[in-house]
Structures are given as structure tokens and as C-alpha cells.
Amino acid sequence: MNKKQKIGIVGLVVIFAGFIAFRVFYQKGAKLLADLYPWNYVALVVIVGLLIWYFIWAKKTGGKEEENEVTVSGKKPLLTSNQIGLAAAFGGAAFAFRALGIAVPMVPPLTMDPGALMPCLAGMCGGPVVGIIVGVARGIPSGTPAVDLWAQPIKGIYWYFVWKQIVKIEDEKKRWVVFAVSTFLLQFFVEQPMFVAGNSFILKLYDFYPTWPFTLAWYTVVYSVFQFVVFAAVIKAFPGMFNWRSNKRKKGGRAGKN
């Protein structure tokens, strides 16, 4: 069993433990799907679908050998100097955007802040550890660190894994469509519930239902559009950094990397 498979099993155990905790403490022994709204069924289908997809993917790629980097000290470093540079660049940019007031205000405190997208972009181009670091850097000066310090790094982690699969799609048009749909699904079914749950269960700022999915649904939809527009612009500008292959052919040449 390789490292990735071990992580996968640990992840499943954590999900199972979370499910048991949800049943015991939140549902308090009620029927499994008692008091659930229709949107929860949709969420359930999406989550189960993602889990099945993960199983299939893990089975296919499970046998592949991992690359090992050898360093002078003989120990694999947590980050290469390039990744440290990327983490510093995205972490710094997140604050610089905020400090310069580059955010589109909606209904306060809801804003569309490009700085909040930096953990995702860092995860996409630098790997999960870079995503975590930029997420932590983003969470430290946040107004609600009890939520942002764990939720922002999680964004960096799942975007790394999702992105890794998106860039594997050969057809560029199909890749853009999958990317747009994934952005919306992840925003609506992962990011928003995660932040709303943090604000409601940890900080007790509001109730989980109906804040998600109803009260703030409009914001989630608008935000996912904003997120996709920014992601698309950045990826178009730096395709190589994000491993984005273009189908465009140069005169007399073959399809290649941008």
C-alpha cells in the first residue's frame, strides 16, 4: 500500500467518524434522513458521486510509484524553494489585494474578494501544502480566525485534487466546461456549507438552515461566477504554471504546451 492509498483510507475513516458524530450529536439518534431538505438530497448525491469517483480513480492510479526527491540532507523537504516562493507570492498578493480595497462589495459583510481565491490558486499550481500555507496566511489576520484558519487551507487542498483531474482532460473545450461546472459545484456544495457550518456551529453567528442553502444561495451563485472569471483569467495568463494545455495549433506546428 502506497502513501496516497494510506491517506485515502485515513480520509475515509475521518469521514466515517464525522458521520457517526453527526448522527450522535446533531441528529441525536433520529432517522437517518429525518428533517432533511430537498437540497440535502442533492448534496448527498453529489458527495456520494464524488466518493465513488474517488474510489475508481484511486483504484486506477493506486499502483503508480511515487517520485522521491533526494536532498543534500537526505530528507525529503516539505517544500522546495520554488514552492516557498509561490506560497509567499500568493499569500502576499491575498493581503495586497485586500489592503488596496480590490473587492467587489455585495451586502456587507459579503464581498467578492480576489484574495479569498488565492488559497485555491496556490493549491492548483503549487500543490496541497502550498494551498494550506496560503490558507493559513489568509486565516491569521481574518476577523473570524476560528473558521478561516481551518476552512481556508481546506480550500487549497481540495482544489489541488480537483485541478489535477481537470487538467487531465484532453479536449480543451470540454475541460473549460468541466472546470466551470466544478467551480460552481465546489462553491455551492463544499465551500459555502463549510463556511456557513463554521460560522453557525463554531461561532454560533446564525443557524445552518436555512442560511445554507437558501438565504445565501444567491451570493453563492454570484460568487461562483466571479470565482470562475478570475480563475479563467489567471489560467489564461499563466497556462504553463497551471499545467493547462492548449489545443491551439501554431502555423505549421503541432499542438503543444502554451
Binding site: S81, I84, G91, A96
Partner: protein, 273 residues
Amino acid sequence: MNAKIKNSFLYSLDPRTKMLMLLVLIVIGCSIMDPIVTSFMLICMYVLYRTTGYSRKQVWGITKPLLLAFFLFFILNFPFATPAPGEEVFFYLIPGNKIPVTLTTISSGFASAIRFVFFIWGADLITAVTPTGDIVLTMNKAKCPPEASIAIGIAFSYIPVLKNEIGNVIEAQKSRGASFESKNPIKKIKAYIPVIVPGLFISILKGREIARTIEARGFTYDPMHRTYRKDIRFQAKDFVMMVFLAALLVAVVYLKSQKGWFYTTFILDVLTK
């Protein structure tokens, strides 16, 4: 940061004590549901701001953007709070006895809104009086990998440089006729894209420079045994503060879990009984 803040008691505390303080404030804030007690905590926080050297104007500057959020949190909460059994209903928001307005629902809305301001104030104050270098040292003391703490430290110290560079991009776009003043969110997003992309490009270029520099200095050779010019040590006042914070936390958790205090209408019930 002015000299008064740098000479304040809060600034002089060890960063670990300040982090513990923030954690205790969050736990206490989450435990107390009564808007009157939460307001008292907010007043205490204001006193802490003032004793740290913040002027009234500076505190107002932090609070002003939160006012609309205050109302939003009130609106997000009070229609969905459950009234206490047998409680008097003032009126219904929607005809057909839907969304009752009671003392509990109003108190619940206010408590959440005040708590939001309390959290922002607390986090803002603690991070403002903790220098970036100290955050890095705290992370190292907490056995956080040095690569991660250094990356966060560089990110923080690079903010003024990037702010300046991205500010230049904004000025350049303005000189080319770009307008960022529109209130239409779609127009605003469109206007910001030519700033975000070159801004990120500059950040990434700087990031590559950082990578070359740290590689040239041999950082990745043995980061675990890296030494630091400054070291952080607990002082007597840190221990006193930690004992006080622990006692406060235990008291609040005990009163809440064992005596049932601090529920939404706790003070009002005490006063009317």
C-alpha cells in the same frame, strides 16, 4: 503603529499568550448567548483597545464597516430563532402565524450581531499588536515546519512591496482610462481583471526571486536546525495572564454547563424574577 501601542501591556506580552487570549475570547464569545453579557464583553474589549493606545477614531474606523454587517447578522438570526415555550408573541412577521417575534428571537438576533463585532474586534486587536516576526517564531515553537512558517513570514513582510507594485498597476490602468468607481458589480469585476492578472504576475515574479534567494542562501539544506536571531521567552506577566485567562475560561464553561447561565434571556430573567 504609534509608540503608545508599542509600549502597551498587550504588545509586550509573549505572542503565545496573545494567541491563547484570542482562543479564550473565541470560546467565551461562543459560550455566551445573552446580548447583555455580550455587550458587556464588547465594552471590556473597547477598554482593552483604549488602554492599548488606540484612539476613539481608530476604533470607530474598525467598527464603521461592521455596522451593516451587524444588521445583516441580526436579520439572518432573529426570524429563525425558536421562541421559548409559552413565551408571549409580540406579533408575526408573516400573516398566518409565521415567524413569531418574541423577546427570545430579538435577543438571539442582537446577541449574534454583537458577537460578530466582538470576534472582529478581538481578532483585529490581537493581530495588530503581534508583529509578523513573532507569529513566525510562535509557529516554530509550536513545531510547525520551518518551510511553512518562513513562507508565511515572507508573505506578510512582502505585503508593502506588493501593495506598492499593484498600486502602480492600478495607476497605470487608470491612466489608460480604466474606471473602478462603478457600483455595478459586473462592471467592477470586469475593471478589476486587468489589475488582478498583472498583480499576480508581479507577485509570482517576486516569488521566483525569493525562491532563488533562499536557494542561494542554502535554506533548504537543513531547515529543521535553522537558528533565529530573536528568541521568544515567557515572562512573569505572561504566566499571570495565562492563569487569569484559564480561570476565566473555566468559570464561564462551568457556569454555562453546570449552572445553565448565559442563555439568550439570562440577565432579563434574573432581573425580572
